[in-house]
């Protein structure tokens, strides 16, 4: 009997061991090495030495502040756009989808079935200088005769928005789908206008989806470099482009490692500020 119990006590650890060990060695330990590398000095030819080189961090911020800010800016705008664009559709599927819900959700995730790089290249085609989007905008005089979309921040933000849209739409749908329709009816029976019922009932109840969607979109977007590379110019480069080129082209590993850490810190700060913002909004929403 006691033997059986001891065996049961060990079982979860035996189940965890292989997977957790793998993650420890190839996820946690590498983060440690990244930190170690970020404080080294030297270069690829003469080797690197660990010298508590904190200046890597200061230099990264000094030299690439524009790219850091641009990353957070582009990711922030793209996340807001994705939220505004996909909320009505998530709402529509959740409340009007009927038995077509799953099929409509399939449309939402359809872009994921096309390789990330290929769908970004498709945007390059769509926004290209002789494409119909540019031509239409030119004939409407929104864009000058020699104006272009490629190699602008608009193209990069549009690409990021598109590429991470399903990350926003899916959590929104999940939280909207769980709302009990009777609550909205109750609000309307109690003389709330449709708009009020939405603002006071539906929107607050979908907040978990908004938060999840925002994080799922913002975090990968802030670290992205593919959209900036394929749709932008060097003026639109984000910190991901710099990290990528420092690591793989200039082999300036310590600087690249320091930038990776600053990127993570920047994302953490942004997420923290956002959490505080949503927290207060939620408070005022219930208090008013």
């Amino acid at each position: 009997m006691s033997l059986f119990h001891r065996h049961r006590g060990l079982t979860p650890y035996l189940l965890l061991l292989p997977g957790i060990a793998f993650l420890a060695v190839f996820f946690v330990v590498p983060l440690g090495f990244l930190g170690y590398q970020s404080l080294q000095s030297g270069n690829i030819d003469f080797g690197y030495a660990f010298t508590w080189e904190w200046s890597n961090y200061w230099h990264a911020i000094r030299d690439y502040r524009a790219q850091f800010i641009r990353s957070l800016e582009y990711a922030g705008i793209a996340t807001a756009l994705a939220l505004v664009l996909s909320y009505p559709v998530a709402y529509w599927i959740a409340f009007r989808g009927g038995r077509w819900k799953n099929l409509l959700l399939l449309f939402i995730v359809a872009p994921f079935f096309v390789t990330y790089l290929i769908r970004t290249l498709a945007w390059e085609t769509i926004l290209s200088d002789n494409g119909f989007v540019v031509n239409t905008l030119q004939s409407l005089h929104i864009l000058g005769p020699s104006g272009r979309l490629l190699a602008t921040s608009t193209a990069v933000v549009a690409g990021i928005t598109y590429n991470f849209l399903p990350f926003m739409a899916l959590p929104l749908y999940v939280s909207l789908e769980q709302i009990d329709g009777r609550l909205i009816e109750a609000a309307e029976d109690l003389y709330a206008s449709k708009l009020h019922a939405f603002l006071r009932v539906t929107l607050p109840l979908s907040l978990p989806g908004i938060v999840a969607g925002t994080l799922l979109t913002f975090i990968p977007a802030a670290g992205d470099f593919i959209n900036a590379q394929l749709l932008g110019s060097t003026n639109n480069h984000m910190i991901g482009n710099v990290i990528q080129s420092k690591f793989l082209e200039q082999t300036d590993y310590p600087a690249a490692a320091a930038m990776s850490f600053i990127l993570m810190a920047g994302i953490l700060v942004a997420v923290f500020l956002y959490a505080r913002l949503v927290g207060t909004e939620q408070l005022t929403g219930t208090a008013a």
Binding site: P12, L15, L16, T115, A122, W123, N130, P220, L263, I267
Partner: protein
Amino acid sequence: MSTVAVPARRERRGFLSAVWAFVKRHVLTVYSILFFAYLLLPIAVVVVFSFNNPPGKFNYTWNEFTWDNWRYWDGVPGIRSSIVLSLQIALLASVVATALGTAIALALVRYRFRGRASTNILIFLPLSAPEIVLGASLLTLFLHLSFVTFGFTTILIAHIMFCISFAVVTVKARLVGFDRHLEEAAMDLGANEWTTFRKVTLPLIAPAILAALLLCFAISIDDFVVTYFNSGNRITFPLFVWGSARIGAPPQVNVIGTAIFVIALTAMLVNVLVQMRRSKGAT
């Protein structure tokens, strides 16, 4: 549900609000259709341009229809080997990650043990870290280990690493609604733990395992960033696309993109239709 509320409101507010509700309902529908058009536009471009005979190096402007890109899908040097490598990695990575992930999910849902909360955090972290950080940190690990040569193994390790968490989350979602009495019944009938697992647990969670396998496969075959950092001189299909994009991607890239899309869509469509029929039969 709404059929109860609508007549009551109509009496109260009259005809105009009914019209307004009607218009509003359709505004949402029209908007949604436009939204789907926007979502599917790049996909349509990928498919259409797979049949294009590009006028020059760049496959940007429509020239003329041709089957040649499909007939000679591997007519570009390096494209076939990149697809083979991607398939090998995706297959191996999804099997290993799903096995490791299923075990973790079983432990997390079925047992109370010390370190459960920290395990949950450890699973969550790779999902919430930007890909570039995952790729960069793994690269620094391998750079510090002098015996490592970049190539097949490093790509495989990277893919297993970022797939495990997805597998855990997928299987866990399914395990939460699992009826433990079925296992207890098997044990009461004299089956030992291993037999119970094989004959009862495994068949019940098989759909979740399959879902995790497919998800890991899809994520692995699509991955660019982490692979880019850890591939050495091996080239997976997304890396091939990246390399060729700089000099003008050949239409064959669109052919493979279309093929992957059609295969994935068919698999999902079958799944959705089966679900719809099932739910229709239930009601």
